[in-house]
Symmetry: C4
Subunit: 123 residues, 4 copies
């Protein structure tokens, strides 16, 4: 049995899905989650906006002893995806401890730009 | 009622508003703040410089259950904005806990460069 | 005698070795480890994937009072390297405290993109 | 009297001064330090390498209520600068608490790449 590591509650204030891509790689963001334990982790994601109420209860499963680099463009609620070109923020709650990092590849212009940060854990 | 999450006091030592832009996106910095609570958050921002006294008491409101990606070029005091092309540092105090991330898009040259980090919280 | 500083257990959820390079610098990732102590540090690295079991017990030595910027493309097990173009995550355990930062240079397109973050320490 | 904020001891494992520059901005790294207090801060910096003994006791002063974005290319000992094109790591000790962030601009190729992270504080 492997132990769950990290925290159950994480935040990423700077979310943004770029509107355009060019070159060989599409613009995208990834929420990179690591589940070290022998049990699967159930994530409950909330998306906060500047001008409207949050999207709540987006569910994602991370299998046991696996990582998952979740594309934010794949997330949504009732068939409605996270809107592109809009600033937002991410709250992530997990039933067991996980570790969370956020990265963005922006290929709006011909060459790529990258940024990454750990999530902010609530302990 | 939703609970405030994070900390009331944050720092970002590396602030810099690029002087020039090219291509389709303007150079800019964002202080990305998330307020998870049911009450609005009142931020009090201080800007530190290398060669002059700080700019103090810049006020920003983050509505309840909202994020705000604050452009630093929109911040100022008595009609005087943060100067561009000058290294500075940011102190952020909030009346309720919030979570803070800082990101910069530099389009000084034709293609973009991105950087991001969480703020440093005082606990 | 110099003291070991940092933590013995670190995580980096967003690992990825880019498939292609162009220009004068090859795409690469580095796990940057600092060992401040007068004793050498023995690292035991585990690589987690999205779709297969982890690669375990990859060993790296960091000499006393030295840093080592470990290229992930140099890591492997039984002659099998970490696969390129595949999302993965990194667990790093050390017999003495060290400090860990992760950086990636992506030169998939003609110009470079950089990202960096501290590892996530378990205290 | 303003209070010192942050920590007295910080690490940055991934230091590197790029060998070449192109375009309008030179490649450089900055150690961005914020001193919120009414007293000046005296920093003592140690540089660790992969293959040689550390450079020790590099001194930098941060004035009261000021930030300083220290170019690493300006640091050295007995007239010897930090070598360029060589991986290294940074230890920073201050006589009073400060906050530390590290950023790198790489203009090896025609367009810029940026990375940034907070330092790792010892509490």
């Amino acid at each position: 049995m492997y132990k769950a590591q990290g925290e159950k509650h994480w935040f990423i204030p700077d979310g943004y899905i770029p509107e355009t891509s060019s070159g060989s790689l599409p613009s995208h963001e990834s929420i990179c989650v690591l589940n070290t334990s022998s049990e699967e982790a159930l994530l409950r994601i909330t998306i906060f906006f500047e001008d409207r109420d949050p999207m709540t209860d987006i569910l994602v499963v991370i299998p046991a002893r696996r990582t998952k680099h979740v594309r934010t463009s794949s997330l949504g609620k009732n068939g409605v995806p996270i809107p592109i070109g809009v600033p937002y923020a991410i709250e992530l709650q997990s039933d067991i401890p996980v570790i969370v990092q956020y990265s963005r590849l922006d290929s709006t212009q011909a060459e790529n730009a990258l940024m990454s940060t750990l999530g902010y854990p609530i302990k």
